[in-house]
């Protein structure tokens, strides 16, 4: 959860973040107790807590930005990076941990060149750790988007990512062909 190397914002994204945050702030008071409800709402609307939004909240509540960041990094509920197109959740529950969940996490981190809690610069993938998804017999488990992957090994990690790569290439091909026909 390094906010230091946060992703670049897309064009128009900053304006959207500021507008949404301002709207949420209007519905709340400026007491410190409003902090968590405010950032919860921001995450609900934007999918994550962007840095500019946290700064805006800090100004509105008249507290140092670091205090907002402190709360946001304390609770697992908050994410500081935008969700990727494909969300990868690696289970770190007891069973998955024993069966090598951290090895699976390592493989994803290495393959995607991001750390847990981050999103790839092209926003294709985001990587998260979760605690038990309720199918311990299948450990170690990874949930990719909504699909449960059972008994995942580092080789399967490559397989999962390869599937998405092929899928993406085919889509691009189709688009190009579609464009050529027109």
């Amino acid at each position: 959860m390094k906010g230091g190397e946060a992703l670049e914002l897309l064009a128009g994204e900053l304006e959207q973040i500021q507008a949404e945050t301002a709207e949420i702030l209007q519905q709340h008071g400026t007491g410190r107790q409003e902090l968590i409800p405010i950032i919860q709402e921001i995450q609900e609307r934007l999918g994550y807590l962007p840095k500019p939004a946290m700064e805006q909240v800090a100004r509105a509540l008249d507290i140092p930005e670091v205090d907002v960041y402190s709360v946001a990094t304390f609770y697992n509920q908050f994410r500081l990076n935008p969700p990727g197109k494909h969300q990868i959740k690696v289970c770190m529950g007891t069973a998955c941990h024993m069966m090598g969940g951290h090895i699976v996490m390592d493989s994803f981190e290495r393959r995607l060149e991001i750390k847990e809690g981050e999103t790839t610069p092209d926003r294709e993938f985001s990587l998260e750790r979760v605690a038990c998804v309720g199918c311990c017999a299948l450990a170690p488990v990874v949930v990719v988007d909504e699909k449960v992957e059972a008994k995942v090994s580092p080789i399967r990690v490559d397989g999962i990512l390869l599937t998405f790569e092929i899928e993406k290439k085919e889509q691009e091909k189709e688009q190009q062909e579609g464009g050529a026909e027109e």
Binding site: M1, K2, G3, G4, A6, K51, M54, E55, I63, P64, E65, V66, D67, V68, Y69, S70, T73, F74, Y75, N76
Partner: protein, 217 residues
């Protein structure tokens, strides 16, 4: 100001009414280990768990930084239960502390060393194993001081000074659990934050986590 009579370890003292026991005891010359306590804080953090004492009539040991003195209070600073609690808290602090005191710029001026001396607690782990995680990166970006999270005891003194005394608001606690440390907004190096490098936080650091650069050379 009205005074109350209390007894600490068999000695009678007169202390100001309404004061917290920790400060009353320290003023009387009775040492009680403490790291997170701050006299100016409205509500004590009571997070270092080092200032335990036993009070007659109380079921369990209490943290002296949260306990107000009262007339006829009878306090014992050293009992088997207190020693056990303090020893455990102290060892937990050491379990993720970079312990090479000889190489630490704060050697001989460190609160942990003082506690170890006063309470005859070893400055090494006996019951616990050291926490096997990677060392956290040292922040030496400022011109004036360095921050070594591996020597930090998370007492919060620097953050309080930053927020309440110099009112800069550059630093706070970030992350959770083993990853918890003092940091800036976005976890950027101090020099890139709104830190003014006034060095006030360094002066209140009880250990070798925040140290002036001139001392490290």
């Amino acid at each position: 100001m009205s005074k109350v009579n209390i007894t600490i370890d068999g000695q009678q003292y007169q202390v100001p009414a309404g004061e917290k026991l920790l400060w009353a005891a320290l003023d009387c010359g009775v040492y009680i280990p403490h790291l997170c306590a701050n006299k100016d804080k409205e509500r004590p953090d009571a997070s270092c768990r080092l200032c335990f004492v036993e009070i007659e009539g109380f079921d369990a040991p209490v943290t002296s930084c949260t306990q107000e003195v009262f007339e006829g209070m009878v306090v014992k600073t050293r009992t088997a239960r207190v020693d056990r609690l303090v020893q455990t808290a102290f060892e937990l602090l050491l379990s993720n502390h970079k312990l090479r005191c000889g190489k630490c710029p704060q050697n001989r001026q460190c609160e942990l060393q003082k506690i170890s001396r006063e309470r005859k607690l070893k400055l090494k782990l006996t019951r616990l194993r050291p926490l096997l995680t990677e060392e956290k990166a040292v922040d030496d970006s400022t011109d004036v001081f360095i921050y070594d999270p591996n020597r930090c005891v998370l007492c919060g003194q620097c953050i309080w000074v930053d927020h309440k005394v110099v009112e800069v608001g550059a630093i706070g606690f970030i992350n959770r659990g083993f990853k918890r440390k003092m940091g800036t907004f976005g976890d950027v190096p101090l020099a890139e934050s709104r830190c003014t490098q006034c060095g006030e936080c360094v002066k209140v650091c009880p250990v070798g986590a925040l140290v002036f650069k001139e001392k490290t050379e």
